[in-house]
């Protein structure tokens, strides 16, 4: 038995080179098989490209495969959107739908997502899905601006949910500058997450390797732990961590949550003549007797978002009734998948069908077409 105490940290025979060679061969085989396996059953190479404003956008015509929640192999269109190719309008009304992962809908086939459903329900509409997962609430307006004009959109619908209203504007990357005397907001600023900058450096790998893409996600907590540990170890003894935000002075008037929402929502208007609307997707709480109700926290966020939207005159729609109906009629929730969280998570095909109908109705109502029945 070799003893590490006696200096042998590895086999010391002449066959060491041969063992190293075998290890190299084994590593190559393992990596190749793992790459193949991940592509078949877990995820594809990353379709994300670094963007200095939004952190990242999707690459045009890229493949998007995800088996973490739902199981869909998606072909992004020529604009890098999860939609069919965008052709001429042909006398249809073009509705641009902007939102985060609820809108991007990578969990279901493109044909089943709510923008496709709305389009299929009404031949007068050409609904374009401009969703991107993790898109920050404060970036929605800017993101819409990128597509609205080139696509000559007639209307923009912003899809938001509790996470956007509650969590987004509390993110450390988001800064609000305001007048401390009266709390008036002067400007807001969202900094691109450091992780995206880091990911940019290895884009060459993530665009070609599903395994590297998977590892980036898997090792994220370890990298965060390593960063924390490094900061702890390198901080002089007794020194407190640097504060991210300045504590408000007693005489300072700080803007309320609704004030910030109102400011952010104001950026959503693109063109005075073209309608915009907000569609809010509620989270549900389920009961054994077949009833579903809106989660109290979701309702609370909805009320704040509605107040902010109404204050600046943006029509505000909710999908609670239709989502609740899915559960009461089928006994199955409109959110969740067998391979993910079942009662929460993203919309499944039933949920998309319900939201698609709401989207169609609100578009018809806002565009002044006949047959509007949308619920506000």
């Amino acid at each position: 038995m070799r003893n590490l105490d006696e200096g042998g940290s590895a086999p010391t025979t002449t066959s060491a080179w041969r063992i190293a060679g075998r290890a190299l061969v084994a590593a190559v085989i393992v990596l190749l098989v793992a790459e193949l396996f991940v592509r078949l059953a877990v995820n594809g190479p990353s379709p994300q490209r670094f963007d200095p404003v939004f952190g990242y956008t999707y690459i045009a015509n890229a493949d998007q495969f995800n088996a973490r929640e739902g199981f869909a192999r998606i072909q992004l269109n020529e604009l890098g959107l999860n939609d069919r190719p965008v052709g001429p309008k042909n006398d249809r009304w073009r509705v641009l739908v902007v939102g985060d992962s609820y809108t991007a809908s990578i969990q279901v086939p493109t044909e089943s997502n709510f923008t496709s459903v709305a389009e299929d329900l009404d031949s007068r509409l050409d609904v374009v899905n401009a969703g991107r997962d993790g898109l920050f609430l404060g970036n929605l307006g800017e993101y819409a601006r990128r597509f609205a004009q080139p696509l000559d959109a007639d209307m923009i619908v912003y899809v938001i949910s509790e996470g956007d209203v509650d969590d987004d504007i509390r993110r450390p990357e988001f800064r609000v500058r305001f007048n401390p005397r009266d709390g008036t907001i002067v400007s807001t600023e969202i900094r691109v997450d450091d992780r995206e900058l880091l990911k940019q450096r290895i884009e060459v790998l993530t665009h070609h390797s599903a395994l590297v893409t998977r590892m980036i996600g898997q090792l994220r907590p370890a990298v965060a732990q390593a960063t924390d540990l490094y900061k702890k170890l390198t901080r002089p003894f007794g020194q407190q961590p640097q504060r991210q935000r300045v504590e408000p002075r007693p005489d300072m008037v700080t803007p309320s949550h609704v004030d910030i929402l109102r400011y952010v929502f104001r950026q959503l208007r693109q063109d005075r003549n073209k309608p915009v609307a907000i569609l809010y997707i509620n989270g549900l709480k389920y009961h054994a007797d077949g009833r579903a109700e809106v989660e109290p926290s979701s309702l609370d966020a909805e009320e704040r978002a509605r107040a902010a939207a109404q204050a600046i005159g943006i029509p505000f729609y909710v999908a609670a009734t239709e989502l609740k109906k899915v559960y009461s009629e089928t006994g199955a929730p409109p959110f969740g998948f067998n391979n993910g969280i079942r009662l929460g998570g993203h919309l499944n095909e039933r949920g998309h069908a319900a939201i698609g109908a709401v989207l169609r109705d609100l578009a018809v109502e806002q565009l002044g077409l006949e047959g509007a029945t949308a619920s506000r």
Partner: protein, 472 residues
């Protein structure tokens, strides 16, 4: 520190490097003790005082017991040691439970629970200290004169917070020898650690996504989903705990220590009695040796034997946590053991014990597995109401409308079936693991280990759940 965290890996690597550089055995024991205290203090530095005190009274009273000539004095020292160990366990773990129940019994409405943080691993290190003092009193072990070595026995970090519960007779003699760090131990210990990590991250953590979701509100789910959750939790708790134990054994092995086996494929048992010989072996043998036998064991007639069994299992249930659900779980196992004993006695009288045919074995295995899986329901449920809803939902026509056949859960359960089948029918296949260094130098073994590492990286959930047994 969780074994599968980066912080632990950095800590362990640093400790290993230090141990490699320092050859002096006394210094190595000190290093291991300091390392163990850092490991524990990383969670809560204040409770280092508790573990220090526990070590101090265990060692000091043991020494006094050894030096004392009279039986009476020895009894007093043993009694004092038990009072201190059980007292601290009782205060930190059960004070609020008893307070709450007393308040409810006496109808005291303004009772407020005390703000007590349960020290991680208290159930393990107090049991180790008690076993040392009891064994010393019974004359089964030699006294430990070194406070440093004794403190290391109580706080040895691989098994400090979730076992296996190590007896002084198993551990202290290992400190009398040189602490050898060998390449063989490193290779084998690392593979054991990897095996434990697979059980924990690939199996238990993926199952927890489904199990937690169902137990959050079982009334919503269909009977078939609830049955899947029964199977999933049975496998989750086994893989979580057996995985931790295996990682602990692996780390111990790397450091040159042999820790006892804690699980031996319990779901292959043909009876509840056998289940307890295979499940959490270090606890069940502890309860047998220090509680059941102390109560009289099977020496005082069949009725008393069954009462002793019941008391042991009730306390075993309570050991897991201060909750009536754990007591119910212990009581059900106690009752099953009593029935099992009667059944075996009846079969012995008929002369059929030991003559079991394949059909009997399959039925016995299925009945044992079903029983053990079902009694995990109260163990996992946060309260009686959830237990009731869950069990009622398992019946045909019961439960809610939501079907959830979590794909990872199904895959993991299928993998677990293959693993158990391999253990049962092709034991030689698993006996080749872990690979000794000479075998690991060959390509097939390298590929097996490589794929195992890759599976952990690909499928471990991003946010690792803490080990279930940390709370006990």
């Amino acid at each position: 520190m969780i074994f599968t965290s980066l912080v632990f890996l950095v800590f362990f690597a640093a400790l290993l490097v230090l141990l490699l550089f320092i050859r002096n055995d006394t210094v190595r024991v000190w290093l291991l003790l300091i390392g163990s205290y850092i490991f524990y203090g990383y969670w809560n530095a204040y409770y280092l005082i508790l573990i220090f005190c526990c070590s101090f009274w265990g060692w000091g009273l043991g020494l006094l017991m050894y030096r004392s000539g009279s039986e009476m004095a020895q009894r007093v020292y043993l009694g004092l040691s038990l009072v201190l160990s059980l007292g601290s366990l009782g205060f930190f773990k059960y004070a609020n439970f008893f307070g709450e129940n007393m308040a409810s019994l006496l109808q005291i409405t303004d009772w407020e629970p005390w703000d007590i943080v349960l020290p991680v691993g208290i159930s393990f290190f107090t049991f180790q200290t008690m076993s040392y003092n009891i064994d010393l009193y019974r004359g089964r072990i030699e006294v430990c004169r070194s406070p440093v070595k004794f403190a290391l026995f109580v706080s040895f970090f691989p098994q400090l917070v979730a076992g296996p519960i190590v007896r002084a007779s198993e551990f202290l003699p290992q400190l009398q020898r040189r602490i050898h760090l060998t390449w063989d131990n490193f290779v084998i210990g690392s593979q054991l650690f990897l095996g434990g990590a697979i059980q924990k991250t690939l199996f238990a953590d993926n199952l927890s996504v489904f199990v937690d979701g169902v137990y959050h509100d079982p009334s919503l789910f269909s009977p078939s989903t609830l049955w899947l959750a029964v199977a999933a939790y049975s496998m989750q708790i086994f893989c979580d705990f057996a995985g931790y134990s295996l990682m602990a054994i692996g780390i111990g092995r790397i450091l040159g220590f042999a820790l006892p086996e804690n699980f031996r494929m319990p779901y292959l048992s043909l009876s509840v009695t056998e289940f307890w010989r295979r499940w959490h072996i270090s606890l069940s043998s502890w309860l047998r040796d220090y509680l059941y036998i102390s109560l009289g064991g099977n020496r005082k007639g069949p009725t008393r034997t069954q009462v002793n069994m019941m008391i042991t299992m009730l306390l075993g249930g309570l050991w897991h946590g201060a909750s009536w659900n754990f007591i119910l779980w212990g009581a059900m196992h106690g009752a099953a053991l009593a029935v099992n004993r009667r059944w075996d006695a009846w079969r012995e009288r008929r002369g059929t014990l030991g003559q079991e045919g394949p059909v009997y074995k399959v039925v016995a295995w299925a009945a044992t597995l079903l029983f053990c899986s079902l009694v995990w329901v109260p163990f996992r449920s946060p309260d009686f109401a959830t237990t009731k809803v869950f069990l009622a939902g398992l019946l045909p026509g019961g439960g809610g409308s939501v079907d959830w056949y979590h794909s990872y859960t199904v895959v993991v359960l299928l993998a677990a079936v293959v693993w158990h089948a391999a253990y049962q029918f092709w034991p030689a296949l698993l006996r080749t693991l872990p690979f000794p260094p000479a075998v690991l130098a060959r390509l097939p073994a390298m590929l097996v280990v490589g794929f195992a590492v890759m599976l952990v990286f690909i499928f471990a959930p991003v946010n690792t759940s803490p080990f279930i047994y940390f709370q006990f």
